[in-house]
Structures are given as C-alpha cells and as structure tokens.
Symmetry: D2
Amino acid sequence: MGTVITGGTIVTAADTYRADVRIEGERIARIGFDLAEPGDALIDATGKLVMPGAIDVHTHLDMPFGGTTSCDDFTTGHLAALHGGTTMHIDFAQQPRGGSLQDGLDTWHAKANGRAVMDYGFHMIVTDARPEVVEELDSMVAQGVPSFKLFLAYPGVFMVDDDTLFAVMERARDNGGLVMMHCENGVVIDHLVQRAVAEGHAGEPGWHYRTRPATLEGESTERAIALAKVAGAPLYVVHVTCTEAVDAITRARAEGQRVWGESCIQYFFHTQDDLDRPDFEGAKFVCSPPLRTEADQARLWDAIRRDELEVISTDHCPFRFADQKTLGADDFRAIPNGMPVIEERMSLLSTAVHAGHLSWNRLVEVASTNPAKLFGCYPQKGAIAPGSDADIVVWDADAEYTWTVDRIHSAVDYTTFEGTPVKGIASHVFSRGELVIADGAATDAATPGRGRFVHRRTFEHARPGEYLGNVTTAEPTHA
Amino acid sequence: MGTVITGGTIVTAADTYRADVRIEGERIARIGFDLAEPGDALIDATGKLVMPGAIDVHTHLDMPFGGTTSCDDFTTGHLAALHGGTTMHIDFAQQPRGGSLQDGLDTWHAKANGRAVMDYGFHMIVTDARPEVVEELDSMVAQGVPSFKLFLAYPGVFMVDDDTLFAVMERARDNGGLVMMHCENGVVIDHLVQRAVAEGHAGEPGWHYRTRPATLEGESTERAIALAKVAGAPLYVVHVTCTEAVDAITRARAEGQRVWGESCIQYFFHTQDDLDRPDFEGAKFVCSPPLRTEADQARLWDAIRRDELEVISTDHCPFRFADQKTLGADDFRAIPNGMPVIEERMSLLSTAVHAGHLSWNRLVEVASTNPAKLFGCYPQKGAIAPGSDADIVVWDADAEYTWTVDRIHSAVDYTTFEGTPVKGIASHVFSRGELVIADGAATDAATPGRGRFVHRRTFEHARPGEYLGNVTTAEPTHA
Amino acid sequence: MGTVITGGTIVTAADTYRADVRIEGERIARIGFDLAEPGDALIDATGKLVMPGAIDVHTHLDMPFGGTTSCDDFTTGHLAALHGGTTMHIDFAQQPRGGSLQDGLDTWHAKANGRAVMDYGFHMIVTDARPEVVEELDSMVAQGVPSFKLFLAYPGVFMVDDDTLFAVMERARDNGGLVMMHCENGVVIDHLVQRAVAEGHAGEPGWHYRTRPATLEGESTERAIALAKVAGAPLYVVHVTCTEAVDAITRARAEGQRVWGESCIQYFFHTQDDLDRPDFEGAKFVCSPPLRTEADQARLWDAIRRDELEVISTDHCPFRFADQKTLGADDFRAIPNGMPVIEERMSLLSTAVHAGHLSWNRLVEVASTNPAKLFGCYPQKGAIAPGSDADIVVWDADAEYTWTVDRIHSAVDYTTFEGTPVKGIASHVFSRGELVIADGAATDAATPGRGRFVHRRTFEHARPGEYLGNVTTAEPTHA
Amino acid sequence: MGTVITGGTIVTAADTYRADVRIEGERIARIGFDLAEPGDALIDATGKLVMPGAIDVHTHLDMPFGGTTSCDDFTTGHLAALHGGTTMHIDFAQQPRGGSLQDGLDTWHAKANGRAVMDYGFHMIVTDARPEVVEELDSMVAQGVPSFKLFLAYPGVFMVDDDTLFAVMERARDNGGLVMMHCENGVVIDHLVQRAVAEGHAGEPGWHYRTRPATLEGESTERAIALAKVAGAPLYVVHVTCTEAVDAITRARAEGQRVWGESCIQYFFHTQDDLDRPDFEGAKFVCSPPLRTEADQARLWDAIRRDELEVISTDHCPFRFADQKTLGADDFRAIPNGMPVIEERMSLLSTAVHAGHLSWNRLVEVASTNPAKLFGCYPQKGAIAPGSDADIVVWDADAEYTWTVDRIHSAVDYTTFEGTPVKGIASHVFSRGELVIADGAATDAATPGRGRFVHRRTFEHARPGEYLGNVTTAEPTHA
C-alpha cells in the first residue's frame, strides 16, 4: 500500500517533465504513469510542481546567544520549516569553549531527541582548537558530522585565530570534512563598534550595519580562501552577502580552487536601510553579516544566475521582538543577532522564479540538490528518484498571498516579510513517505519525535576547481 | 510488452541514482525497481550507466563542399553515430545562393528520406538574405526548423555582410528562431591566405591554421555578439575553439546577454601541430576554425567546468583521405574542410570524465540535455524521464580500447584518433524504443528509413543573461 | 635680445617647479633664475603656470562634409586655438575617392598656405586603398605625414572594408606610419538609421545618438584592435567615447599590444541628452561618435586617471547653427557632424584639474606631451626644455569666467558650452618665440601666414605593450 | 663659481632632451646652453644621460636582526649607494618593543650622525601601538618622519594585530602620514615553518621560500588594503613580489583607492630556485618575502610597464656570508633575512631599459621622482630642475661590465649578482652640488659626516584613486 502523487510536473535540478510518483514506505518507488495500485492513497498534483523537499543547511534552533536562546526549538522550528516546504535542515552544534566537540554534539542531540518532526543533521562549530580538539574532528566525521564551522567574527566568543583555522583546514583536508566559514573581520569590527558607542550611537540599531562594512567581509573571505588554498582544503563560505565576497569566491574558482558559497534568502530581499526603521523596528533586521545594499542584491542574483554561489539557505535564528530583541534597546551590541526565515524561504524563491531571477530547476538546485550533495546526504535527500527518501513537496506555484505574522508557524512574534506579497506555497509535503502537510496544514502525522538524525557521509571532494554541478558523487547509488 | 533496462545507474544532467527503466513502445514508461512484466525483454545494465542518448547538433552529412561531397550519407553517418552513443543529430540544410530557403530544406529532406536510421532535425544555412528570404525565415520556423546559421567566414561562398546578419537577427528575435554563427573574419583570412600562397606555401597544410589566427575568431565572435545585443536577439556561437572567443562569450553573459557557445570535441584533443604532420597527413586535421594550441585546450576545459559553454558537438564532416582530401595536395586552399568525429565524441568525453575534466552529469548536460533544450526538442529528447522518447544509451564506462580506422563505422577511410586510447563505450543503444545497438553492434532493427525528422519548437528565449541551466522551458511537459 | 618669462611655475608632464624661462629667437634657451639680459622683454608669470603650448591632433578646418564646409579656415581656427592656449594642431588631409593621396595632401597644403597663424601638421585620410595608394603611403611618410586615418563608419563616404584596412595596417607596420581609426560599425548604423527614418524620426536630432549605440563603437574598436594585432601594426583609436571602447583598448594593452586611445573633451562634459534639447538646439551637439551617458563620462575620467587613454583632443569641426546645421532641419541624417571645441578645450581641462579629475602634470601630458611624442614632433613641440620650440602658454589657473558665444574666436555662431563656468585662461601665448596672445588678446604678431607646416618624423614604435609614458623616443635630442 | 655638466642628454620622468646643467652651490641653477662662466668646473657628459640621483626608500643599514647586525653602516652603505648612482635613501628607524617612537628615532639619528656621506631620511617602524604610541605618531610627522611601517609578518618580533594596524591607519589618515606595510601572513607562515622543521628540513635554505607561499603575501596585501579602505587612509605596500599582490593593488586602484606599491630590483632578476643552490649558497638569497617564480617576474615587469607599481627600491640589508648568514647553517630560521642590492640597483634597471622592459623616463620615475613625491621631499630631490638639490648622476648607459664581489663597495662579502653582465654605470655623481663620484670612483669630497638628514613634509594625499603620475604635489615650488 503506497501513495501516488498524480498529475504534477516533476522538477529536478536539471529536468522538468510531467509524470506521477509512487511512494512505498519511506522511499520513492517509481516514477511514471498509471502507477496506482489497489489501496494506494492518491494526491492530486495537477497543475502543481513536484520537487524534492527543500534542505536548509544553515539554522540555529534552540541556540544560546548573548544571554538568551533562539526561540524555536526542534518542534516549532520543524513545523515552520515543513509548512514552508523544507523537509530537512542541518543545525549547528557548538563546542563549549575549553570543552570537547563531543560535549557539544551530545548537547545538540539532546535538544533534538524527541522533539524533531523532520529529519536533521548537525555541523560542528569549533570555538577552540587545542591539539586534542583537532584530533577529535575525526570522531565527528565518524559520527556523521563531517562539516566544521569556524568564525573570523565575534572575538572572544566564536572567533578563532589564523593558526587554529589553518590547523582545522589541514585536518579537514585529511579526514574529508568540509570547513564552513563565517567571514567578517571581527577585530576591526570591534574597533568600529567601540568608537560608535563612544560617539553616542549605542541606541541606534542602524549602527549594527554601519560598523560591519562589506569591505571587512570581503577581506575575511579572501583570507579564508587563501588559507584553504595553502592548506589544500575545500571551503564553504556561509552567508555571503556582498559584491566583495562573491568576487573573491569567483576569482578563486576561476583559478580552480574548491570553494563554494552560500547566501541566505533575506539578503536578496532586505537592505541595510531596514535597520534604520524607527521605533526599534530595525532590531528585527539585525543579523550578521548585516543586510547590504541594492547593488549587493543585484550582485547576488547575478551570482545565482551564473552559478557562482551554490546554496541559498536561511541562517534562521529567531528572537522575539517583545522580550529578546529588546535586550539591546539601549545598546545595539546587545541585540541578539538573527531573524526568522525558515518558513518564508521557499515562497520567496518561488516569487523570484516568477520575477525571472532563476528557473525552477535552479531553485531546486540551490535549495535542495546542491545542499544534499555538498553535505553528504545525496541521493538519500535532494532528489526525486526511485530509492531516495520520499521527502517531497507539492508546490502550488500560482498561489498568491501576503506574509503576516499570523501566517507563520515559528514561535517568534514577527516576520520581517510582514506585508510582502509572494507567489507559491507548499500544498502537500511528504517527510520520509509520510504526508505531514496537506492542503497547507500540518497533519496528525507531524508529531514531535518522528524526525531522525541523518548520518552524513564525508564530503567526497570535488576535483580542484570543479563546480558542484560537475561533481561526481562518491556513492552515486542507493537502494 | 516492453523492455526493461535493469541494474544500471541512471545519469541525468543533475542526478545520479540506481534504478531500472521500463520502455513501452517508443517512450520511457517508468523508472523504478521491479518493473518487468511478463514478456518484457530485459537488458542487463549492471555496472553500467544509463544516459539519454547523445545529440549532435552540428553535423554535415552528404554535404557539397569545394567540389566534392562529405562522404557519409544519412545511413552511414547514422550508423556511426549510433555505435558511438548518439541517437539524434541536427544537420545543416543550405539555401542555394540566390534560391529560397525552401529549396534548401527540400533538398535536405530528400537526402534524409529513406536513409535515416535515427531521428534528425535541420538547421537552415542562410547564404543570402534578400528581403523575401528574411521573410521566409518564419516559414522555416513553422516547418520545425527554428535555427538559422550564418557565416562570417568563407567570402564568396557562405559569408554574409553585417547588414544581412543584422536583418536575420532581428527576424529571429521576432519569430523565436536562434541565430547560429560561424565566427571568423573571412576577409582578413583571405588576405593572409593569398599572401601565404604568393610566398610559396600552397603545398603545406599547416598554412591552413597559420592563416586563420585565433585573434580573427575572437574578433568575429565579438562582432556577432555586439550585433545580437543591438538586435536584441539571442545568439549561439558554433565551434568555439580559442581563448579569445570564450572570453568574449563569457564577458557578454556576465552582462546579462543571451549568448551560448558550442565547442567540438576535437578541439579538446588535437592541436594545430597536427596540421604539420608530414606526408600530407596534416590534411586529415584540416577543419575551420582550425585546431588551436594546448593553452586554448586548457581554456576550453575551464569553460566546460565553469558553465561558460553549453554544448560539445562534432562538426562531423568527413572527407576521404585517399581521394577527397587530396584535392588539396598542391594547394591547401583546396583541401575539403572537415573531419569525422560523430562516432568518437562520446568515447572521448567519457575518457575526459575519467581524467577529471568534467562529471558524468555534466557530460550528459553538454552532449544531450543542453542541445535538446536549446534547439527546441526537450523533453522529447535529452532526458531519462517517463514520457520522453526512449533514446537511451547504456554506457560501459570502464571499457578500454584504442581507436583505429577499423573500428569506425563512417564511410571515411581514416580517424584522426588513430591510436588514441579511450575509456567508455556504448554497449546498448535504444532509438525511440528500439534496440539498435546491442553489445556494441548494430542490430537488425537499425535499418535505413526508420529515422524520423524531429519537428522542433521555437526556442523559448531565456531571460536576458540567464544561463541555460536556469532556463524555464516553454513547454515543460509531454505525454 | 630675448624674452624672459619670470615668476611662473613650470609644469611638465612629470615635474612642477618654480623657475624662469628665457626665449631666444624661436626656441627656449635657458631655464633657471636671473636670466634676463639687457634688452630682454619680460613677461611676468607670477602666480601663473608655464606650460608647453597645447597640441590638438584632431581637427577639421575648412573641411567639406555633407555638401557644406566646416566654417573655420586656417586663420580663424588658429586664432581660436591660440586664444585657448593651443599652439599647434594636426588637421586631416583627405584622399579624394579614386584619386591619389598626393592630391589630397596638395589640396590641404593649399588651404593652410598663407592662412596659418600657428604651426600645423597633417594626417592623411585614406578613403580607398588601391594597391598604388597603399604604396603611396610611403611617400606621405617621406613628406612628413606619417599618420593615416581610416573609417569603419560612414559607408559610401569614408568607410573602408576590412581588406583595405588590413593592407594599410601592414604598410604602416613597415613604413613606420601610425594608423588612426574612427571606430563605429557604419553598416549596422545605416540599418538603424533607415529604420528610424522609416518610423518617422527624421525630424528629431536625438535619433542621431539613438541610431549609433555604444555597442557598435565597442565592436568596431575590438575589430580594429584585432586586425592591428594580426598585422603587427600599432594603432591609435580616435575619439573614444564609451565604456565598451575603453575596455577594449585596456584589455589589448594588458596583453602587450601597442594600442593608444584618444578622447575629446566634449565627451567628458556633454551627454546624449543634449541632443534632445528642443527647438533643434540638439543639432548643435551632433557629432560622431555621438555624446554618451554620464556612466561613460565616469569611465572616461577613470581612463585618464589610470593612463588608459593618452590624448584629449577636440575633433573641432564647426558648422554654423544658422545656415549649416539647418541643412538637417527635417532630416537628422543631413545635419553636418561636428562641433566647435578648439578654443574651449584647455579651459575645460583646467576646470577638471580644479575638480580633482587629473593633475596639472597629467593635463600637460594628455594635451601636449603625449600628442607630440605619438605624432613624431617631440621634443620640438610638447616640452618646456632648452632647444624646444618656444610654443609656451602662460596659464592663469585661477581666472574664472563663463563661456558665451561672444567670447569665442571661431567663425562659428554658437558654443555648446554657452553658460558653462570655467576656471583657467591663457594669459600669454608664445608661438615659436613670438608673443601672439598677450593678456588674453591676440597681438599684432598673430598674422596669417606666419604658421609653418611641421614635418613630422615617423613614429618610432614603442615596444609591444609599452605605454606611452614608457616610450623611449627615437631621437631624444634636438639642437 | 659653479659647475657645468655639458653635452649630456637630460632625462626626467617625462622628458628627454639635450641640454647642459649649471650647478651653483648645493643646487641646480640653470638648464640650457653655453652656461659656463669663468672659473666654472666642467664635466663632460657627451654621450651620457643626466638624471636626478636615484633615491632608495627601502634600506636597512646598521640594523639589528636575529642576533646580528646588517654589516653596512651609514658610511659603507652610502659609499656603495653613491657608486651605484643613488644619492639619497630612507632608512627604517625602529621603535623598541615597549619603548617610544622617539627612542627609536634617536637611536637611528645617532647611527647616521657623523657617518652619513649622502642625504638620508627615516621611516618609523611601529612594533607596538599602545595608545600613547599612536599619539606619538604626530610627533614623528613634526620631526620630518611622516611614514610609518608595520608588519603582518614576523610574529613575536615585528608583527602587529589588525587592531593595532587599524589604529595606526586612522592616525595616519588624520596626520598626513603614509602607512607602509610588509604583507605576509606571519601566523600561517610560522605554522608551515614549524612543520617543515619537524619534518627535517631545517638544514635546507630552500625551505625558506617553501614556507612563505605567494598566496599568503596576496592574502596579507588584500587585508592591508581592506583595512586602509575602511580607515580612509592611503597605503604603500613595500616589496611586492608576486602576481597575487600586484593584482590586489591593481584591483583596489581601479576602484579608486589610494594604494601604491613598491617592488625591489632583485625580485625582477632572481627566482626562488636560487635558494636551492648547493653548499649553503642559497642562504645568500634569503630575504622576505622570498624570491618568486619567473611567472611572477613577468607580472612585475608588466606592472612596471602599466604603472601598477610606483617604486623600485632595494630592501638593502646585507649580512656577510662568512660569519652572519652561517648563523642559520643548521636551521634556515636563523639565517639573517636580507641581501645587498643598494649599489647594483641602477645598473640592473639600466640593463632592463636596454632589454626593453621600460624606458629611461620610466626608470627615472620609479627610481627617483616617484620616491621623492611619495615621501615628501619633491622637488628638493627627484628632479633635474633649477632650485632642486644638485643630486645628479651622469649615467654612462653604454658601459658594459660584469658584477663581481670585487667591484662592490658594501662591507658585505658577496653579491648575489656575481657573474651577471650589466650595461650602464654612474660615471659622475653629485650630492648637493659636490662631485662625490668621478669617473666611477669616490672623490675626496665623499667624506663621512657630509650627509644630512632630510626633513620630509607630510605626504599630501592624492585624491582617491589617483595614480601618482597625476598627483598635484602640495608644494610644487622651491627657491
């Protein structure tokens, strides 16, 4: 007894064609026509797109930051994601400073256990890289966590020095891990922040972006790329926001270096001017790196169009406006960094397709297939293919509506897209074969605890300079 | 009663996964597991790749040139193609100077009728663009020939002036046709050729390339791109061979222009030095634009890696060494331009995958899916998808052998790849559901006359600056 | 008995220093302090700059065009030039179609003879390059006319085909001549013009620029550069106006090609919007290539700043508004192309120095020293150095005034800079030692017939890729 | 009673002409012909070039490093410089860690006092930038030391962190100082060095360059440029050696940033392969950044040709091979970094002119005029102009000879150019009007103590993005 999705148009990262999909158990069984067998459930997708569920490789659920904790846990965050068409995410476990990576991983497994509604994985944030910690990276790989994030921002909190970074890169080169970098020059930013405060700007959220110029993201990106080149390690630059950083990545790739870039959907839709909104509204838009200019948005769209960036994720990290963002009411340094985006992402990408910024195939590529390939869970995830997990979204591409806080399922109390009209909605969502969203609403199947940890494989390094579209996956088969 | 290809790994332009394929009649019916029904034929593809049949969008079968005719007709050329894993091609019909496009199209239909073994289409070469000829372009589109080729080379034979070119571009912009350009500055080349002959080099085939410098291909490519920009028309540059031309295309795309480029597989494997081989052997390598340098080869591979070119075709145009190439024994100007490549292409691309130049997915993209999308026959062709024509190649990627003239199926008497070791061979090939190659040999089904003309749709123009990977096809569905 | 210029600050293309200059006869004798001898005339330049007289290498005096003749002859044009601080120009002699170069040169010598007030030279416009004409180029060199201009614009009038152009380039490579190119694709422009007229725009001067897009100047520039590269000849691109053309030149130079570029001062100050001025006022701004956009102006200033262009000249070609521009009152095709700039140039450059676009040294370089070096009359002209011709301008850099038609000395009846405030004026001008402008007014010495033809040497080609600043002049000495 | 240099050809950064020069006292009095007065000394420069004496803005005389001291003091170093045609240098005074800038300046004044044979200036090396040290920078400017050098290399010795660097840049922006950066990522280099030693390479000088890859110079250069951009400060990058660093500078300039670059002559003539010479000979070539590849040399020559670098200096820092370089006989980390070049520079540049790499004018520009302008002593130095100090070199451009250790006047015991043939020698050298080198040999006038400290002015910042050739000097006059 299975489920057949009928009448829809299948969209993969390369192909678009009319066919039905039959699900058996947790996986896709067949693609074709006339697939229904007696007892099968039927989902009518006529006039809709059938795509692999989106994957969000950059989220922060239940994350301590600046004296508070991001307000979505693995239940509310997952429900928001599923409503938006996202069926898997990879969150960031975090090494406690001075502690072991295992400590961090255990803590994050505990956060997800029993709460997860959809499948999830973890990256590991390395905050201090003592020799034994560098060695411990191998154990992370063995436990299905083959991606390590480091920061060149947030001195005293997350920032590592060049020596630590280089040591981790060398280890990743050898154990197959992928280094993920937050690139901003935290030292100079702190210098600028202190001066801004001294000059009396503490109460203005807009000084968040004024003290984090794009030039310093560009510099830091260049640095990470240079070190990765010397180390011989592949590199994944997270949340690229500006021309300078895109250009740095593009130049490195042109010379054959294995560098990939991610941006987040909010950088394509919001600008730094949003931080200057009155009545502390700007605080809703505080994230790092900060929102940039319209010129940077244009460069980002170009990068998506030209295959210069591989992934569009969210950096979903929600803090309530009422009682969390307000921690920084008098001092912009204390505004928790982050915004809620996990649910809105796919609707915005869909709107961008209608606006001509990218094709449906490219949408699937940046939102699902590339993330799965880069982070070692393809073709289990990220594909409409027999044998793949039946993580499927039936997308009603023509549905038009406007985002308001009432529509969102996150535990947060605002959306930065309040009033933004979009086009495209997840009408039905399958997670490992179960229908968890039907006609846009969560079903009874969408219960905490059903989500599973995805043990990811080591990233099989692309050959020097290859773009992701050209990568031969290490283990192309399943089933 | 159908056919099931079992045990293989399906490779599309984006995906790679283990699954079986069931063919019913002329089309792919299902993809999945356990697909066989009673009476089905089974093809064991275990350990092999299952890919959409290759499409060769640049061939010259049975083509008059310089007082002789290319030696493959639509039967021998098709058999060679099928053995090599190619299941469709688009040949060039040619307007007789002073005549109508319809004259040319009728002539070429007659060449193919009754002889074709596989499916084929036609582009239309425009040699003179009187106002009524420009109007006639619409009729070509209506007859399934929505691509028009013009030359900036061969003055007095094919070359058109900028005014003609521009008029055709404007018409193509309006009727949905795609202008294809051969870019070399024929006027200056003639100047150089005449001087070379005057200086006594007529007897040296190597002066073919010495009189056709890459700079003049670059110039001509820039010109075609500029005119297309002013006309507002999309452009497809055929057989790009050199750094200058790739750079021109890349720059135009970076600024959002709809320009696509094709190269041919021989430009990645041979160099101009081959034209200097003694004993007139160099004549085997005479084609236009000429073979270039190793530096140009590196640039071409980069372009494939970076998605700067969309298609790798062949410009297959065979002339026998014994009695056709020798027309130019004393005068390199009289050597018929062209070489046989239609059968060797896929084996060379496969070898390049093993060498790390591209992935299997990218091979499918440049050899099959992109050609189908650009030339208006996707997803009928170019896809492994239910509803698509069952043009399928089962590729034995690990088969190693060496090209010799004895292996090839063209009517020509040499291969330029004589002695070249390759890795990868078409073990089984389906053409519209019929098994025409089995275990590397033509079956009884591979009979002249079974091939059909493919009525291609107008190319639905990509939005300005979009790369092909991002194109939303106009009619994404079939069946 | 000589003349001493005292108290001024000498400005050369590299140096700036306080010193006096003593003139004896036609030449500069000494630079230093306390140079006056009994009987010397003294010119007080305190607070002023002492610079080599400007050279204008692109002018059209007494030139037939479109059924009329540019309204300045060699007397009125020279007086305008001298008032503006220009002490030498190079005009264009023109081969009559079907006639000899000598015919053209003789005609232009006759125009200048007896009328010239300052020194002058000639370039030769080649309109048709029959073999005997190509040979005749050597004779031009021998007669002191070592620069040949060709057009890719104006089909049927000046335009040459690629074969002619290439033949002239090869001859120039051998005889030391410098090929100067007007780069616009005249064929496509004619196509656009005809359509514009057919669509009813004949009466609108603004369609002059709408039918001459920058893309076609860029294309043509690329073509000229490519042909020069293949020919092995140096190239001078005249009146560069747009980003596309500057970029083409810059790329060629980066690869070591000997290409130099000139722009004209009006392209830095006017835009295409000026052609849309009502009441036929736009006709005053009709020149080819047309005025461009503000973005192009910014690119031109960048090019001056980065040494990507060598010369700023004028293309001075005045036609009276009252009875000459009006030839095109009903048909923009018939508006004589050209505008008066010879007098205004230096004041505009001076204003640009005050605005921070370039330094005084760079002003001297682009307006005087580079022209003299490139066109074979350095250091006779273009230098403040003992032994050089005493062509000197004492520049009052702080004088502020506004251009009006009443101020200009050309025979034309308007200035496009009407109402434009400028800063800087020629207070005293010496031409070969004679004071021809004193306190801003022509002296009795400024008489027709005193100007002499400058027999220019062959351009000693810079080494491949060298910028002009690096050129070792062939004959560095004089005296 | 003066001195007249007769018969020579004067070469400035822009002009080349035949004229005599009369010196009165310490300065140039007149340029012209027939300048001799009764009692004048005459120097016959017939057939020779008369150029401003070279300025070397990057030297380390009498400098403690790694437990020893560079072996030239201000007497031997000056005599070597003068024999080579260099008449002024700027050495590096050094803040003692934890001490004041004044301490460092006093120490270096003491080194020069009584020993200097030619004029000299000081830059100030900042090793630690406590707030009071940042304030003390203003005092340095007041004392004629308006240039501050910082290192991103040599952790624990010279290296500063980004915060220090940024603070100094901001102060320099305000007080008119020029920040000079040694750009190499010292942290990662140390990582590589430690591993190399651990792997047993301590005894191989070639590991000096293997542990200092060009990528890390490029990264560091990008970082310095980015910080300077954010700080709004101009930047001078010292000893640029590689493609990556040149490209970074060129990109910044293209966007209008005030960044200038220096290279040293040895990087154009030696390669990293020289460090692999047997018998510890490689140690003679140990300097930082290390020598690079032939490809980098080509890029450097391009940069000189295209005005992408402003200065060619020496980083002269001699250590005897016999008893100083040998400190690192067993451990390449202990080899004192540096080589002797102060005398050889001009002969190598002259040889490069003959080879076609640059013109004589450009030689004067990069070796004398640009250094004087950038470092605030123009036109006192760096010009052949009345009123300028009579620091003049009479250059015999055709003299051919071969460098051997016997020819050099430094206290060092080797030259890296042993056996290198060169063309061009200083036949006569004037220092502030005194003939200190005659016919290639020091005169009695060349006595210790005659040299004077040059109190340099604040660098008047060029406008954003201006190239040096376009800079309007703040105080263009003297006398």
